[in-house]
Structures are given as C-alpha cells and as structure tokens.
Amino acid sequence: MRAIVRFAAWIYAIAIYGFIFLPVVVLVLFSLQATSFPIPPFTGPSLRWYQAVLSDARLTSALVNSLLVAVLSSLASVTLGFLSAWGFARFVLPGSALLRGLITLPLTVSYLIIGMGLLVLFNWAGVPKSLLAAGIGHVVINLPLCFAIIYSQMGDHQINIERAARDLGAAEWKVLMMITVPVMAPAIFAGFFLSMTFSWDEFVISFLLTRFETTLPVEIWNLLRSGLNPKTNAVGSLVFAVSIVLVVFFELTLLRRKPA
C-alpha cells in the first residue's frame, strides 16, 4: 500500500514537471527547425532562425532598447528606493507609516492600470510616446519593490556601525557611501536584479507607452501577427537564455551569501 502511494506520488510529480516543461521544450526544440513552420515533424537541427533573428535590425535594436530601459529604470528604482528606505529607517518622520504605504501602493495595482493611467496623463500633458515614457512606467512598478526589499533589510546592527562612523567624524555623505551602501549591498543588488528581470519582461506598459522605438517583448508581440514562426521560437529561446543567466548569476552571487 505504502509503495503504491509512493509510486503514484512520483508519477504525479513527473507529470507536473512534464506539464511545466512541455511548452519550453517545444519552444526551444522548434527554434532549431530547418523548415518554415515550428510544428511537428522536427526537421532540424538548424541555426538558420537564430541567424534570421540576429540579422533582423528591428529585433536587435529592440533588444538593445530593452536592455537600456531595464538597466536605467532599475538604476533609478534602486536609487530612489534605497534613499527613501534609508530615510524612513534611520529618521522618525511624521506620518511615516502612511508615506511608506504610499510608496508601496503601486505593488497592488495591475500593470495594465498603471500603464493606462500614464497613457491618459501623458496624452493630456502632450508627452509623446517613447522609451523614456515606458522607462518611467517601469520605475513606477519597480521602485516599491526596491524600497520594500531594502527597507526590510535595514536592521539595528547597521545603525550602530553608522553611529560609530559618525562618532569618528565622518560626514553624512561619507557614512552613506562608505558604510551604508557597502553594508546594504546584497539588498541593493537584489532590488536591482529583480527590477532588471521585471523590466526586461514587461509588456503592457511598454506596449501602451512606446510607438516606433520599442522594447523586445513588444517587438515579439508584433512578430506573433505572422502566426507560428520559428523565428519567434528563436528569439523567445534567446530571451529565455538571458533570463536564466540573470537568475543563475543572482542565485550564485546573492543568495549564497545569506547565511553570513
């Protein structure tokens, strides 16, 4: 009886793994298709669709745009998030709980609605659709995340180190740059990398707020109009590879340090 239950459990786990991996395996497999349709039978392996992606100027410039928006918006998010977390953690401010609530509020609202709001506002204010507009939207969604991560990691023992530095005569900016930032580095990096992955993958805000120059997810969306296409598979597999590299890097550099 026990053995049967165990066996059934393993079968179940394998089935769920199968379900989870099925679309990814199909995606990557048919990105290596030699013929023009990413449907069975498999005719590869061939790298022709990867070549097609890399020689497609629209896709490569969208990829550069995506990286640019992701890096810059994450830098802005993590800077604003860090400064405000430091301010709220170190000083007693009137209405602190309320203000902290305000900063984290965007976390509870769907991207579609944040994008819609910005679209209406920019439309009124005459701000043209652009990568900058999308970047602003990405800071709106990632700033609360950076703030929450960094704020939650600011403990008392760090206050003491800062005090020691001040007592030894360090100016406030020196305390910030030489004590607080290095001590908080893991949380700062965590905020930065999470923001990077969210911005890199974000679709609906970029879709609403950009026009000619756009990000990779939107360009992939445009590719979908042509139906099933191995080129979409190839670009999707590349995006997947980049994300995996980011995640593994994140895992190796940050999470391993945690026990210390």
């Binding site: 769920i16 679309p23 000083f91 965007p106 993958d201 990779l216």
Partner: protein
Amino acid sequence: MSVAGDNSRALPWALVTPALAWTLLFFVLPFIAMGLSSLTAHEGGAFTLANYSQFFTDPSYWRAMVNSLEVTAIVTAVSILLAYPFAWILAEMVPERWQRLALMLAVLPFWTSYVVRSYSWLLVLAQNGVINRALTDIGLIGEPLQLANTRFATVTGFVHFFVMLLTLTIFANLKQLSPSYRKAAADLGAGPVRIFLHVVLPLTLPGIMVGAFLTFVLCIGDYITPQILGGNNELVMPQLVMMQIGRRGDFPLASALSIILMAVVTVAYLACARWLKIERA
C-alpha cells in the same frame, strides 16, 4: 540623537522626497487623470456617467466581466489543486539536499518571457501542434481538436504560470510547519489521512489563501494570455480595455473599464483580508 546637527531635519526629507514625488507624479496623478477621463464622454468633454452606465447596461461588457471572473475562479481552483500535492511531494518525499534543485527546476520556465510563454502554449495546442499531432499519430483522434483560441487554452496558459507560483508559496508554507505537530497527532493515534486533513491542511490554509489572492489579482488583470491563447472568441476585461484604446482610441471608456476592474480587485482584497485575519486569530 547621534544624527543631531543643522541638517537633521532637512536630510531625512531630502532622502524620501524623490521617491514620494515620483509616486505622486507618476502613480497617483495618472490615477486621478484616469478617474477624471472616465467621467467624460470624449477627451475634454463635459462630465457624465455615460461610460459607467454603458458598462452596466451593455450585456457584452457584462459578459466580459463574467468571463474574467469565471476564468479567474477556474484558474485559481485548478492551480491550487495541482500545485498542493506537487509542493507536498517536493517538501516531504524529495531528499533535503535535492530540494533546492528540484524547486528551482519546477519554476525554471517562470523565467521565460511572458509573451513567449503564451506563444509556446500556442505551439503545443495549435491545430497542427504537438498535442494534436501526437493524438492523431497514436490514432486516438481522427480530426485535430480545436484547442487553441478557446477558454481551455487561456486556462491552460494561466494554470501553467500559477502552478509554478503556488508551488513556491505552498512549499515555503509546508517547510515552515514544525514536524512536532504531526508527531503529536500521530502519537494520539491519527492516521496519515487524518493528520493531513486536521493538522497539515488547516495550518497551511493561510498560505494557500495568500497564493489564491495573488493568483486572482494577477490573473484578472492580465491581457497577454487571453489575447494570445483565447483569441477574440470570448473577451475578458483587460482585452475589452485594450480594445477601446487600440481600435477606437476611446480613452474615457477604457479608463472607466479599468477603474471598474480595479474596484473588483479591491473588493476581492477586502474580502480576502478579512478572511485571513479571522484565520490567524
């Protein structure tokens, strides 16, 4: 006290003001703009409730909301039912040293791009896709099934994403559970089934509720999965919103629909928050 000095009052505000200003300018203000826009018949028109009354009187708009709620409810239920046993197996049956790897593998496709993930399901479910091909090859079906562009496809795409998410949250929940509860129940003579139903399940229920709420919020606000996998046969709310912007450039109506959608999420949140509080007490 150690931060006393001339700048002690100016400094903290200088630190928090940029983030607050950003939130006010690019989150609160857009929201107000959207609210005002939703109350006009067209850009810059006079104030009216026409957009809202249109939602409540036009059955096709209602239908989109009902579709949204139905799809979200199905997705939430199916995802929990699939993820719970899976998380349990990972937490209880996989040896400790392999658990981290097993969990990382279980959520690996999480990191594919959202748009690409939905597209991948299209490859699987298409008329001449992998599943139809496999089923015809073994002779189970003569004609390919209509799997893509259906509610089934939308639900499948969503469930795929949320099984990964819920596995993470439920796994964390199960690991936090002290084994002494189960030992105590076993010492008192409860069998494995009773231990699960009366000890483990109730203790993990708050975690399940958090996961369920997260699923609800992310699912009901998503445009990509229903648009790519469900097609236009059956619209959900986010598709309706995007349609107003895309085809007709009707910002006021799109704003009104967004606000209605947000109101539904808020109601769900309030209902859930109350429930969770009771659960913890």
